[in-house]
Symmetry: C2
Subunit: 410 residues, 2 copies
């Protein structure tokens, strides 16, 4: 028997802890593995030997019974450390593998995005080269849904559910007045528009809002934008627009980055994309316009997480351990959607060379010709991912989450 180290990296999501519980559940099932160490602050915690013993943290019969399952953010903390290549810096690898040996580690699991998968790929390669038996497995996570070789990524479905729900509620809110109004909602996603596209899920039998959706996959044209708003104003006075923070013009200039704003203290100010378009609408059309940035709650609103998302996240963690126990190394557990009208998935192993340092964007054919909306194919792809509500407990009017004190107290 050997021990396991698990760590989390990159920006937190609502599902990254469900994957952690999945790893714990997987390790308990596998007779190959004994103790589970949680490395605090990603792989940096390994260098510092900053481990939490998680062996007895999971005592339930299924991951979703454990409180960590539905707790937002990274229970083990995070880091932004980029592991150098072993040809450039063999000492770093020697140090890491010495620590692995010291703790009798048989498998290391990294829950993260494409940078974390790059880490797993390098560690597995180095391990093979030196004849190590340590297994290295990745577990995908990113709200942006931009990882290759997996149908979608944990964290995304919950963020999409938050965005769709919030857009529906904003559609209600903005419907009350008779004056012409444009409301612009800025959504996360610098290079990939998946999160912004999920705003389309807010449409229902009585509301076609948002009427316009702008993604970074298509060049933004302000004349088309103003023209489209004028056109819609002929039919209704209440317009809701979803935009990616990363929309840019045909030359690749971000709308936000090119702002020359300065604030009252004379500091350069980076206006958000929504603010830039808000000013544009007011100046060109002279009508009421408001912009809203959904910001951090998109990735941490665990009280409204998607049960489908969290269950898949846990399963990806559990399977990653199973794959390691079967002798695999240098993989990422990944979601394979089965063909057919009814949504179902199985868990496979992705090829890390396809995942590491790559980004999956929305295919052009899933965006309408005008570049201001998504197609029904994209909506069909997104819909299953927001299904189901997580059974968050409430006490004293607030959701009950697992404590994070070990991260913030020094």
């Amino acid at each position: 028997m050997s021990n396991v180290i698990v760590a989390q990296s990159g920006g937190p999501t609502v599902a990254i802890n469900a994957s952690l519980v999945g790893v714990l559940a997987g390790a308990r099932k596998c007779s190959e593995y004994d103790k589970v160490y949680g490395s605090v602050h990603g792989i940096e915690g390994v260098f510092e030997e900053n481990f939490l013993d998680l062996t007895d943290v999971y005592t339930e019969n299924s991951p979703e019974e454990n409180m960590i399952f539905s707790t937002p953010s990274s229970y083990l903390g995070s880091c932004r450390y980029k592991l150098p290549h072993f040809n450039d810096d063999p000492e770093t690898y020697k140090k890491l593998f010495n620590i692995f040996d010291k703790y009798d580690v048989g498998a290391f699991f990294y829950i993260g995005g494409n940078d974390s998968m790059d880490t797993i790929m390098k560690l597995a390669e180095y391990g093979k080269q030196i004849g190590s038996t340590i297994r290295f497995g990745g577990v995908p996570k990113t709200v942006d849904n931009d990882l290759m070789d997996t149908d979608h990524t944990p964290g995304f479905g919950s963020a999409a559910k938050f965005i769709a729900t919030t857009m529906l509620e904003i559609a209600h809110d903005t419907s009350v007045y008779q004056a012409d109004t444009v409301t612009i909602v800025e959504i996360m996603g610098r290079d990939a528009g998946w999160l912004t596209a999920s705003a389309a899920l807010a449409r229902n039998s009585y509301s076609s809002l948002p009427q316009l959706i702008y993604l970074p996959e298509v060049a933004f044209d302000k004349d088309e934008f103003i023209g489209s708003i004028k056109e819609i104003l002929k039919k209704t006075n209440n317009i809701l627009v979803a935009i990616s923070e990363g929309i840019h013009d045909a030359d690749g200039n971000y709308l936000s980055a090119s702002s020359k704003a300065e604030d009252k203290f004379g500091h350069a100010q980076l206006s958000g994309t929504g603010k830039v378009l808000e000013s544009l609408v007011k100046a060109e059309l002279g009508i009421k316009c408001r912009s809203i940035e959904l910001s951090l709650p998109q990735r941490c609103a665990a009280h409204i997480s998607s049960l489908t998302d969290l269950r898949e996240a846990a399963e990806l963690g559990e399977k990653a351990v199973e794959f390691a126990a079967q002798g695999n190394t240098g993989y990422m557990s990944s979601i394979i959607r089965k063909p057919g009208a009814d949504y179902s998935c199985e868990i496979g192993m992705a090829d890390l060379t396809k995942v590491a340092n790559q980004e999956k964007k929305i295919p052009r054919e899933w965006i309408n010709e005008a570049g201001n909306d998504v197609t029904s194919e994209l909506i069909d792809y997104l819909k299953p991912l927001i299904q189901g509500e997580t059974n968050v407990k409430w006490e004293n009017g607030l959701p009950v989450y697992k404590e994070i004190k070990h991260l913030t107290e020094s």
Copy 2:
């Protein structure tokens, strides 16, 4: 028997429709009243005779069984119409009362804030002057909790629950890195800090975030602000700050309004208060700082509304009808908190001269001496208002609300 008109006004909230259902429930109970007309877009709908027949919309046994109860925003739409005084414009009043007579109206109920209560006061006074038997009752609503002569206002408790939950989730999210970080959350409330104060409810056994709370009731001093952050950084790397959008310096200058920012198209840009402070922290301390504006979701996130809030909202509507049937006019139904450790309330009638055009601010003694936090008395006042979760139905991954099509289709 006579008929009833009900209307909604001002900014929408999550509870304003619960009050509407309360009025419907009250009218059904009272043998004095027959039909209930919903005036679309506030009192403007009366001038236009734009009425929805709501008589049969409420068929349930209790308001919370009706789908409108938990639907965000104003089901009947809203307006920002300020009724002139009858001495200045008697024709407007004659027109209104002619329409009331035409529809055989015995009572008019206005759900709204202090402007709406001004309307109710004027209509009741004019009615008395001309010897009309029509009763005029107000039902309070405002997320800002700034109405006088009521312990608190419907809509506020739900917004406070959203804010406290979101602050807790952001506290989780921001705890993951080891670098010094300041996160500033800008909360609604131009002149009264009730909503911002409710951020304190996010604190629990494992988290003291937000560590700083700035309200418009106390002059903001940027040196104190920077000094407090430096002090807290000695103990922890993760700082969360709640600020009212309306904080201002000792001379009354809003931080936001004095921004001189311009965007890339050369339009003047009003930086939010949060953005201004974000720039200040970066410039003065050189550390990572992010600002977040909670914006519209504060008043429309019905999926997380407070059951206490919605139930009280319905009861205020129901009682307003009962008071009218008893012969009262020119009042606002209001919440009277009973003394004692256990929270309980009764519904009374507020004096409109105390309510109309007034604003209730946080008493100075409920803010700490340094002006950067609230006292335990304020927390005790707030806590009961966010208790209980509303049983929102979910379908296809989204909350199910009552349709708003009649407002947006022309």
